[in-house]
C-alpha cells in the first residue's frame, strides 16, 4: 500500500518546494551555520492567518516543539544552548521565552548527563526532549542511550516507560569541522528498545517531532542539518485535525513509523531518508529528463522499526532497487534494507540491490565532503549498473 497516494504524496507532504532548480544536484550550504543565519527565523508563527507561507524545516521543527510543549506540560526541552540562544540552529528559538527556564533548560555540557537525567525525569513522569548539539557529540551519551534508555522498559518487565526524544542534527554538507557531519544512525538501529526516525522535509519534520514526543518509547530523532533551510508549506493544524491516511498514528499525519512514496515511478526504486531524500528526488528529475527513466523515490522516515511495505510493493513493480544514505555502507541501514528485500522479494528483483553511501572512511575534511556524500551522479551511476544486469 502506498500511503497518501502516489501521485500526490510528495506535494501533500510539501517535499517539493525547495527553491532548488530540479536536477541541479547538491546545493552547498556551507558557512550558513557559521555566519549565524537562522534557518528557523523565518516563516509562519502559530495562529497567523492568511495564505500559507513556506517555512524552513528548522522552523517547522520549532513550531512542532512549540505545539508539543503547549499540548503537554510534562514536555521539557533540555540541551546545550537550547534556551537563551535557541539552539545553534535556532530550532528551539523562542521556546524558553514562551515556556520559561523550568521547561527549556540550558544544561551543563555533559551529554551523558543530558540523557541520564532525562531518564530520571521520565521515570518521574516527564517527557523530556533532549538535544544533542551535533551527531558527533552523541557518543559520550552512548551508554545512557543503549544500556539504560533502550533497556529499562525490558529490564522492568514493562513497568517503566521512558518517553524520551533525542533530537540529533545529523549528516554532512554544511562545510563543518570534524564531528559535525556524521551519520550515527546504525548504532542506534542496532539496539533493541530504541526507535529511530529521520525527517526529510518541513511538513514531516513538523509532525514527526510531535509524534516522537507523543511516543511512549524512546525515539532517536534525526534531523538532516543541511536541509534545515529548505522551505515548504506546512499544514500546521493540530495532528488530530489532519485527515489520517494510516491506521497507526495518534494524529493525522503519516504514522511516525511509516515509509512513504514521495515520487511515483515505474522503472527503478530509489530509497533514501533524511538528507538523501532530496538527493534522490533530484536524481529522479535528472533521470527523467536525460534518460527518460521513471524512478520511484521512497522516504524511509523510520529507520527502526523499518517499514518496508512500500519498498517491497515498489520493488515488485520495478525490479530494481538503489538505497542511498550518507552513513558508511558497512552494517548500515542500506545493508538491512538489501537483506530484507532479498528475503522478501527475491524473485521480483531484476538486479542485486545496490547501495550508494558514504565511504567506509572517517568523515573527511569539509573540502572533500562533496566527494564523500552521495550525489546525483553516483545515484544515477548505480541506477545504470542496476539496468546493466
Amino acid at each position: 500500500m502506498v500511503t497518501g497516494g502516489v501521485a500526490t504524496g510528495a506535494a501533500a507532504r510539501g517535499g517539493v518546494v525547495t527553491g532548488q532548480p530540479a536536477g541541479s544536484g547538491e546545493v552547498h550550504t556551507g558557512g550558513r551555520a557559521a555566519t549565524g543565519a537562522s534557518p528557523a527565523s523565518s516563516g509562519a508563527v502559530p495562529g497567523e492567518s492568511g495564505p500559507p507561507t513556506p517555512i524552513t524545516l528548522a522552523k517547522a521543527l520549532n513550531l512542532g516543539l512549540h505545539a508539543a510543549m503547549a499540548a503537554d506540560p510534562k514536555v521539557i526541552v533540555m540541551g546545550e544552548d537550547v534556551g537563551t540562544l535557541g539552539g545553534v540552529f535556532r530550532v528551539t528559538d523562542g521556546l524558553q521565552r514562551e515556556f520559561g527556564e523550568a521547561r527549556v533548560i540550558d544544561t551543563p555540557l555533559a551529554e551523558s548527563a543530558i540523557i541520564g537525567t532525562a531518564i530520571g525525569l521520565a521515570m518521574r513522569g516527564y517527557r523530556p526532549v533532549c538535544e544533542i548539539q551535533f551527531d558527533g557529540f552523541v557518543y559520550p551519551a552512548f551508554d545512557q542511550i543503549v544500556s539504560q534508555l533502550a533497556k529499562l522498559h525490558y529490564r522492568s518487565a514493562g513497568r517503566i516507560r521512558l518517553p524520551v526524544t533525542i533530537r540529533i542534527p545529523f549528516g554532512g554538507g554544511i562545510g563543518a569541522v570534524e564531528h559535525h557531519s556524521e551519520s550515527p544512525e546504525a548504532y542506534f538501529c542496532h539496539t533493541a528498545g530504541l526507535k529511530v526516525v529521520a525527517c526529510s522535509n518541513p511538513h514531516d519534520a513538523h509532525h514527526m517531532i510531535q509524534q516522537a514526543i507523543h511516543s511512549d518509547d524512546p525515539v532517536i530523532f534525526l534531523e538532516p542539518k543541511r536541509r534545515y533551510w529548505e522551505k515548504a508549506v506546512v499544514d500546521q493544524r493540530p495532528l488530530a485535525d489532519l485527515a489520517s491516511d494510516t491506521a497507526d498514528t495518534a494524529g493525522g499525519a503519516d504514522g511516525l513509523h511509516r515509509s512513504v512514496v514521495v515520487r511515483a515511478g515505474s522503472d527503478a526504486t530509489l530509497v533514501g531518508y533524511g538528507p538523501t531524500v532530496r538527493t534522490c528526488l533530484d536524481a529522479a528529475d535528472v533521470s527523467a529528463t536525460d534518460d527518460d527513466r521513471s524512478l520511484e523515490v521512497i522516504d524511509l522516515r523510520s529507520l527502526s522499526p523499518l517499514d518496508l511495505g512500500p519498498v517491497l510493493d515498489s520493488v515488485r513493480r520495478t525490479g530494481r532497487l538503489v538505497v542511498v544514505h550518507e552513513a558508511p555502507s558497512n552494517v548500515s541501514v542500506s545493508a538491512e534494507v538489501a537483506a530484507r528485500v532479498t528475503e522478501e522479494a527475491f524473485y521480483s528483483l531484476e538486479a542485486p540491490v545496490l547501495r550508494v553511501t558514504g565511504f567506509d572512511t572517517p568523515y573527511p575534511p569539509a573540502r572533500l565532503e562533496d566527494h564523500y556524500l552521495p550525489d546525483v551522479d553516483r545515484i544515477l551511476d548505480a541506477v545504470d549498473r542496476s539496468f546493466a544486469f
Partner: protein, 407 residues
C-alpha cells in the same frame, strides 16, 4: 523545594550535632536495626551458599556493609526514592523488596523484578555509576513536583572515577537537586584499592562541585542513620545535594566469581573483622541491656526461618516462559520482533495450548526474518486478541518484607 534559587555550597558538615538526629531512637528501634543487619547478613550468606550449590549464577555479597546500608536505608521515608547499584541488598531489605526478587536476578530468571514506585527503590544498575544520573534527573522531577521527598543514590569508591558520577555531581549541584550521594567506600573495586581511584579523599570532591559532604564510619549503623537523616533533611529543604562517604569494608569477594586472596592480605581482613558492624551494635546492645540471650535465640530462629524460606523459594523459581523473551521490548509493537516471535513459536512446534494468545498477526509488517523458514509461521493462535503485553516476568511475588516488625 522549589522557590528561590537553592543555597548550595553549605560548609562541610564538621559541626553537625549527629547524636541529635538519632536522639529519638528507642531501645526497640536499636534492636530493630540490629535485627535488620542480622537478617540481611543471613540472607547474604544463604545467597552465597545457593551460588556455591549452583542455584545462582553469581552473587555479589554485601558482607561488611550492613551498617552503611541499613543505617542509610532506615533513614528513608516513604516519599523518598533510592537508586541502588547492584550490591544494595540491605537497602532493598529496608525498602520492603522481596529478597527472592533479588535472587531471581542472580539466578538469571529476571532482569528486574520489583516495582520501583511501589518500593521507592529503583532497579539494580550494573553499569557502574550510570544510576547517579537517573537519580539526579529523578530528583529534579521531585523538586518540580513539589515532592516532600528526596532521592538517594548508592555507588562505590570505584564508581567515583566514572564520568557519569562526576557529571551527576555537577548537575545536581548547579540545579540544586534534592539528592543524597551515598558512596560506600568499601576499599575495593574488584581488585583495585581505593587509592587507585583517587588521590584525594572521595568526600573532598564535593567541595570542588560546590556542595557539602561528610565522611562517616560506615560500620556504625547509628552514625550512618544520623548522617543520612541529616543529608536527606538538607536535600528536602531545598539546599541541594549532599555527598556522604561511608567508610566500610567489603568483607567478602567482589562476587562469587572473584578470589580476593590474590590481592587482599589476611591481616587487612582481620583488622576490618574487628570492626564488624554487627558485632559493634551487638556489644552496645548487650551492654545497655537491650539484648539478652533469649532475644538472640529468637533472632537466630528468625534468621534460620528466613534462610530456609529463601532457599525453598529460590529453588522453586521457574525458568521464565521462553515467550517472555519477546515481551516489553518496546511499549508499542515492533513488527520485526513480532515476526521473530511468530517464527520462534513456529520453530518450536509447541502445542497450540502452550502458545495460545502468543502469536500475533505476523502477516502484518515485514514478514519473518527469523527461524530460517522464510515463513511468518502461519500460526494464528493469537486471534483471541489477548494482549501479550499483560504478561509480566516470572519473578515470584513473595510475602516476605523487610519490615521492622516488633517482636
Amino acid at each position: 523545594m522549589p522557590g528561590p534559587p537553592p543555597v548550595v555550597g553549605e560548609p562541610n558538615a564538621v559541626d553537625l550535632d549527629l547524636p541529635a538526629f538519632v536522639a529519638d531512637l528507642t531501645a526497640s528501634d536499636l534492636v530493630g536495626l540490629y535485627r535488620d543487619m542480622v537478617l540481611v547478613r543471613r540472607f547474604d550468606e544463604e545467597a552465597t551458599s545457593l551460588q556455591r550449590q549452583g542455584e545462582l549464577g553469581l552473587w555479589a555479597s554485601l558482607r561488611g556493609q550492613e551498617a552503611a546500608q541499613v543505617g542509610s536505608g532506615r533513614a528513608l521515608g516513604a516519599q523518598d526514592m533510592a537508586f541502588p547499584s547492584y550490591r544494595e541488598h540491605g537497602v532493598a531489605w529496608c525498602r520492603g523488596v522481596d529478597p527472592a526478587a533479588i535472587l531471581a536476578i542472580f539466578r538469571g530468571t529476571s532482569l528486574g523484578g520489583w516495582d520501583p514506585d511501589e518500593h521507592g527503590f529503583a532497579l539494580y544498575s550494573i553499569v557502574v555509576g550510570a544510576q547517579t544520573l537517573h537519580a539526579a534527573g529523578y530528583a529534579m522531577g521531585m523538586a518540580r513536583d513539589h515532592s516532600e521527598g528526596a532521592a538517594i543514590v548508592y555507588f562505590g569508591d570505584g564508581a567515583s572515577s566514572e564520568g557519569d558520577v562526576n557529571e551527576a555531581f555537577g548537575w545536581a549541584s548547579v540545579f540544586g537537586t534534592p539528592l543524597v550521594f551515598f558512596c560506600q567506600n568499601n576499599q575495593w573495586a574488584i581488585s583495585e584499592p581505593a587509592r587507585r581511584q583517587s588521590r584525594t579523599e572521595i568526600f573532598h570532591r564535593a567541595t570542588g562541585f560546590g556542595f557539602p559532604s561528610v565522611r562517616v564510619d560506615g560500620n556504625d549503623v547509628l552514625a550512618c542513620l544520623a548522617v543520612t537523616r541529616w543529608a536527606l533533611a538538607t536535600a528536602r529543604a531545598g539546599r541541594g545535594p549532599v555527598l556522604i562517604e561511608a567508610l566500610t569494608y567489603r568483607m567478602g569477594a567482589h562476587t562469587t566469581a572473584d578470589d580476593p586472596s590474590r590481592y587482599q592480605t589476611a591481616e587487612q581482613l582481620e583488622r576490618w573483622r574487628q570492626l564488624d558492624p554487627l558485632d559493634r551494635l551487638r556489644t552496645h546492645l548487650r551492654a545497655a541491656g537491650h539484648l539478652d540471650d533469649h532475644l538472640e535465640r529468637r533472632l537466630a530462629l528468625e534468621s534460620d526461618t528466613l534462610a530456609q524460606d529463601l532457599r525453598v523459594r529460590c529453588q522453586a523459581l521457574p525458568d521464565p516462559d521462553p515467550m517472555v523473551l519477546f515481551d516489553h521490548v518496546q511499549v508499542t509493537d515492533n513488527a520485526l520482533v513480532t515476526a521473530q516471535r511468530a517464527a520462534f513459536i513456529a520453530a518450536r512446534g509447541d502445542a497450540p495450548d502452550d502458545i495460545d494468545g502468543l502469536a500475533d498477526d505476523s502477516t502484518a509488517g515485514n514478514g519473518s526474518t527469523g527461524g530460517g523458514s522464510g515463513s511468518t509461521g502461519g500460526s494464528s493462535t493469537g486471534a483471541d486478541g489477548r494482549d501479550v503485553g499483560d504478561r509480566e516476568g516470572t519473578v515470584v511475588a513473595g510475602e516476605w518484607h523487610g519490615s521492622r516488625a516488633a517482636w
